[in-house]
């Protein structure tokens, strides 16, 4: 990895980093029907000790 980075120009590196968030666009998304029912936004979940509504989550 460090070898590849050394070989890349600084400009290419910055372009790659900017593109990162978009990478998920290329991932195969589960098709809507196969994903099952959408999670209930009112469902109670426990995260890090907090008792929250699913819709509270980021």
């Amino acid at each position: 990895m460090s070898f590849i980075i050394k070989k890349m120009s600084r400009r290419a590196l910055v372009q790659a980093l900017i593109a990162l968030p978009a990478l998920s666009l290329f991932r195969k998304l589960p098709d809507a029907d196969a994903a099952g029912p959408k999670p209930d936004p009112n469902e109670i979940v426990e995260v890090g000790g907090w008792i929250l509504k699913r819709s509270d989550l980021a």
Partner: protein
């Protein structure tokens, strides 16, 4: 009449019908009831008028099991007993506390709450309480409950003059019973210790042991040992089923509207589970105390929340910037399952100045209680969500199943059980009238007769039971 020594009392030639041991809330209430009924009564009080190290030393003891307070710190041995430093929180046990819980063995009393309710007006006078308010359900699972912050009546202060002037009540200070003698049907006398020496034997027609929720068991265990079972003939349960109210900071809450709850004079609010929730989750009763969080605590709570629920954290920061109250600490106190293994024993090695073995207290919290604490906070959290009132964060040590912290409140200084009330002589010591099973003239007053502890502070119920016992004995003695 108040005497400073047994010698002075003897010189007065007073002939009592009833002897009460101990002048705390239980003993003093019963004495006043009997006195008002015209029955001559003597109260033997181990300690002096004011705190003394010498007297307090009789209360030293040891504990085995979970961390607990030193036994000479958690109670007071002088006139008025622990009412000299109680905090004054008042509430009567719930109706359901008296009823058996099908999912917890050895629960249920032989009396119902309705048996003590007629005494509540008297209790309010004694403890200076405002009107008692009914619970208010805020969801199917959680109810708002009234826990009164009373002026914490110091019994010796409030009733000292009255007792001093009474002609048929004698309070004898600096005089303790070291043991009772009995023949398996009656108590035949009490051995007394006054001002550092043996003061001989004393007899009366009736004896009522009101020496506190630890000492009642100690005195009866020792007396029974000395008289070969002649004081508590059915002693299987004696000293057992001892209970406290474990109390710990269980987490925090952020609140959309702090004013949504009715708070008391010190800005606190209290919540308990409904019977349906206890039944469904098979847990014990509990009380959640909501206290406004100090400012630095709120900031770290917001930072923590920002990791999982940023918009909620943002809302909370806004509330804080508006100087609105928006966060609270949650303290939880809960009912312990009555366990025979939580018990008061007599030390085999350590005795007090009068030669009476000191207490060895065996006390451990159970798995059911940890579940009660966790599920209780979850119920409260779910209720805040359901009613759009806020969110709860459970303390890490609880969610992670870690040990109880040793730097927290620990417990309420509420000493219950040991001489519990019941009909089954293998699981109880006194009957529904607080009379020791099999004995004609021996009664017990105080929270040692509690079969279950409920979630609330005990003294209101102690006082109600004392009024009831006072009425009952007035009839028995004058019959």
């Amino acid at each position: 009449m108040i005497f400073d020594s047994y010698e002075a009392y003897r010189a007065a030639n007073f002939t009592p019908k009833v002897c009460i041991l101990g002048s705390g809330p239980a003993g003093m209430t019963i004495a006043r009831k009997l006195g008002a009924a015209g029955i001559p009564v003597v109260v033997m009080e181990a300690g002096p008028r004011e705190f003394s190290d010498d007297s307090q030393d009789f209360y030293r003891g040891s504990t085995v099991g979970d961390f607990y307070f030193d036994l000479d710190i958690t109670r007071l041995r002088f006139m008025g007993g622990s009412s000299n430093h109680w905090a004054g929180w008042c509430r009567v046990l719930d109706k359901q506390d008296f009823e058996p819980k099908a999912w917890v063995p050895d629960t249920g009393w032989p009396i119902a709450r309705t048996d003590i309710e007629p005494y509540l007006p008297e209790v309010r006078d004694i403890l200076d309480l405002p009107a008692l308010r009914p619970d208010m359900p805020i969801s199917d699972d959680i109810r708002w409950v009234q826990l009164i912050k009373s002026p914490a009546v110091r019994f010796a202060e409030k009733f000292g003059d009255e007792l001093d002037k009474a002609t048929n009540i004698a309070v004898v200070l600096n005089t303790c019973a070291t043991e009772l003698a009995g023949d398996g049907r009656r108590v035949t006398g009490a051995r007394l210790w006054s001002h550092g020496q043996d003061a001989g034997s004393f007899s009366a027609d009736y004896f009522i042991v009101c020496t506190g929720g630890l000492e009642n068991s100690r005195l009866l265990l020792w007396s029974n040992q000395r008289s070969n079972g002649g004081v508590v003939p059915n002693a299987t349960a004696l000293g057992r089923y001892w209970m406290e109210h474990p109390t710990f900071e269980g987490g925090n809450a952020i609140l959309a509207d702090y004013n949504a709850f009715e708070v008391d004079a010190v800005n606190e609010a209290f919540f308990s589970p409904t019977l349906a929730a206890m039944e469904r989750l098979q847990i014990m009763n509990f009380g959640i105390r909501l206290i406004e969080t100090p400012y630095p605590g709120v900031k770290s709570l917001i930072a923590d929340l920002a990791c999982t629920a940023p918009s909620m954290a943002e809302w909370m920061s806004y509330q804080l910037s508006q100087r609105l109250r928006c966060a609270a600490q949650l303290y939880v106190a809960w009912e312990q399952a009555p366990l025979a293994s939580n018990q008061i024993e007599l030390s085999k090695t350590d005795v007090d100045h009068a030669g009476v073995p000191r207490i060895e207290l065996h006390w451990k919290k159970s798995e059911l209680e940890h579940r009660t604490l966790l599920e209780g906070l979850r119920l409260f959290g779910a209720t805040l969500i359901e009613k759009n009132l806020g969110r709860v964060r459970i303390a890490d040590w609880i969610s992670n199943g870690q040990d109880y912290p040793t730097n927290d409140e620990t417990a309420g200084h509420h000493h219950m059980g040991g001489t519990r009330m019941g009909t089954d002589i293998s699981k109880s010591v006194v009957d529904a009238n607080c009379k020791v099973h099999g004995m004609d003239n021996l009664y017990v007053g105080g929270s040692s007769v509690f079969c279950t502890s409920g979630q609330c502070n005990p003294t209101t119920t102690i006082t109600a039971l004392a009024c009831r016992l006072g009425d009952h004995l007035s009839k028995v003695v004058t019959a």
